[in-house]
Symmetry: C2
Subunit: 394 residues, 2 copies
């Protein structure tokens, strides 16, 4: 009897565990995400179906310029901190699985198309490091050395490309490199060529074909077509006016939120209150959109019809929505002070916006612009949903 | 001691259970999928990371032309059977949650962009029906009546469009309709216009902008640009040769596996051993690819560089791979008898292929074409991965 009671007890305990909030909950992971709390070194796990915070997790170090990618099963988030921390979070058990300090200063990362490798872009020491996604054991160290002195370059614009490859740009060296992990053993690391002066960020298109790097030291962008053979780098939008009036740059724009819509890439200009439209076939300028301030992110709604734009300080309380076919601003509103980031739900029905100085994440209908909800988050910055796991270049 | 041993034993057993089919397992759902066992009325739940079958579930009725969509949390699959059955499966608990027989004969379905509505395309009685995704309670019945006799038309090519809309085509009436559920209450149902004679299937592009319907009764396709205002339907590829020699058609191709790649849509021709390339800007013919037989599916690898093609009986043991920029067949192989369907992993590193008459699902590296594994499945047909939940039009 005693034995039986014990068995029943253990069985009941097992059953209880599955459903309580203290214990991991049996649930799908396709509608989860993380919001970075930049000031607290913490990350909040969110549910985009019920629009709720499930749990916030501390101990992630300096998250002042943090981003995240997701495992292909969408159970784990990998958070890249500013302090070189790489933290693997279990979204179901709501805890840190592992954390490594892999460099002194880093700027983001990527996950390989098979989900097995995590690459991190480092400033100090320069280069990229690559880790096993399961264990966070280091797999490769690519120092990105350049020039006669063999210095290590800061790296930026690190993305995954199809075929277990990573592409990244050397800030100091002004070059674009590729690390190919498709074969067993050491990766094949290649310098594709020169991008230009002071490349500050880059994007890869969602088909993994086009890589575009923004330049801070020159008036233009570098474009690389990965389908060309051999792969070459071309200058595009040469002299688009970044340098015209030597405008002060309040914040460097991000290219991650690039938009390919209606046959054009829509990119934030550097130092100008403009978006640039770049024809996706010819890579010539196809128009400009005057906007409220210096754009930071220009992010396409997933159907590509609209591009949502936020702005640099001191105009960073505002969002503008641009209609892509007409290149017209069709909506403007003020979510609040320090509107830092936007993330659309995967098929674009809603958008989540972090309003840092209101300590709030605001949720809007992405078509009617009606407010759908808000969540109290301490100094929120980046918002990342698990659907990124299934996209090239995110 | 004996107690301790028992506890250890139970703990071990509990651990074992977590992985067995008896107990639900705490796990992510981003790398799950279902394979239809067409002859058995069953569906197998698969894991694409470890390339394994987790469980097979019986009792889904006639699955001879079945397809599936997924809830936005990627926990539930909705399987559309031939017999009008709509079955909701819990991929974690590995069981049928609910099953309704909503018509006598049906042909597929779609899920709205907010994940709240499931629409089913019916042959008998004609029209579409729409259900609450949570409960499978009927929300709307759209009979698709046409003509003076107010007959109900069979419907085909049912897809989700952004903004809580469904688009579908009336086989008998030759019209394209839209049902808009963006407002509370009854949907707004509109006939957009005439598609042509005997539309047999349709696709919507991954941005939800272009809807293209194939015609069996005429030599051309119908194209609709949802961004145009008012929305109009245009004929494209008029006289491409479907009718030239009155070729016998062994099996109607599917348009679901359309490919937009390198600026062209790649579509299977009807009755001809050809793929048609359609310029995505001009909607004019941009070339043809001679292939092994009458194509059934022409599916782009997620990066769009290659299109994989399977064929109608009696040439259905073969797959060809077409390089998109050159429109050349670059690879051919024979997975086995009755190669019915293909599904790529979300970022395209592998492809799963159902080989019905070998009772096998074959898994290949989608770049090197090396075989990576195989799974014993009884008469497999459609393969559907949960990543579809996050895509427009899948």
């Amino acid at each position: 009897m005693r034995l039986l009671r014990l068995i029943i007890l253990l069985a009941a305990f097992g059953g209880f565990c599955a459903g309580s909030s203290a214990q991991p909950q049996l649930r799908g992971t396709g509608d989860l995400g993380v919001v970075i709390e930049r000031a607290n070194g913490s990350v909040c796990i969110v549910d985009t179906t019920v629009r709720a915070i499930l749990s916030c997790i501390d101990g992630l170090g300096d998250l002042s310029h943090a981003s995240a990618v997701f495992s292909r099963d969408q159970r784990y988030a990998y958070v890249f901190g500013r302090d070189g921390g790489l933290t693997k979070i279990d979204l179901l058990e709501r805890r840190i699985v592992k954390r490594v300090l892999q460099a002194g200063n880093s700027i983001g990362g990527a996950i390989s198309d098979d989900g097995r490798l995590i690459a991190v872009s480092n400033y100090k020491p320069g280069g990229i490091k690559v880790f096993d996604a399961e264990t966070l054991v280091q797999v490769a160290d690519i120092p990105a050395t350049y020039g006669a002195k063999r210095e290590r370059s800061k790296t930026v614009g690190l993305v995954d490309a199809p075929g277990r490859r990573f592409i990244f740009t050397l800030y100091d060296a002004g070059e674009i490199w590729m690390a190919d992990f498709s074969q067993p053993g050491a990766p094949e690391v290649t310098s594709i060529g020169r991008a230009g002066e002071l490349p500050y960020d880059a994007l890869i298109t969602s088909d993994g074909r086009h890589y575009i790097a923004g330049l801070f030291g020159e008036d233009g962008l570098a474009h690389m077509d990965l389908w060309s053979n051999p792969i070459k780098i071309n200058r595009v939008l040469d002299g688009y006016g970044k340098g015209e009036a030597k405008l002060p740059v309040y914040k460097m724009p991000h290219l991650e939120g690039w938009a390919l819509a209606g046959g054009n890439f829509i990119l934030p200009a550097v130092g100008r209150a403009e978006l640039l439209a770049l024809n996706a076939d010819t890579f010539k300028e196809a128009g400009r959109v005057k906007v409220h301030g210096q754009p930071v992110f220009a992010i396409a709604r997933p159907d590509g019809r609209h591009v949502w734009v936020n702005f640099a300080h001191p105009l960073n309380d505002t969002i503008q929505v641009v209609d892509v076919p007409s290149l017209q601003v069709i909506h403007e509103f003020k979510p609040g002070p320090a509107t830092l980031h936007m993330e659309f739900t995967p098929r674009g029905h809603e958008v989540w916006i972090s309003v840092r100085d209101a300590d709030m994440v605001e949720i809007y209908d992405a078509r009617t612009f009606e407010k759908r909800g808000q969540l109290k988050v301490r100094k929120p910055s980046g918002i990342f949903f698990t659907s990124r796991a299934n996209r090239i270049g995110l």
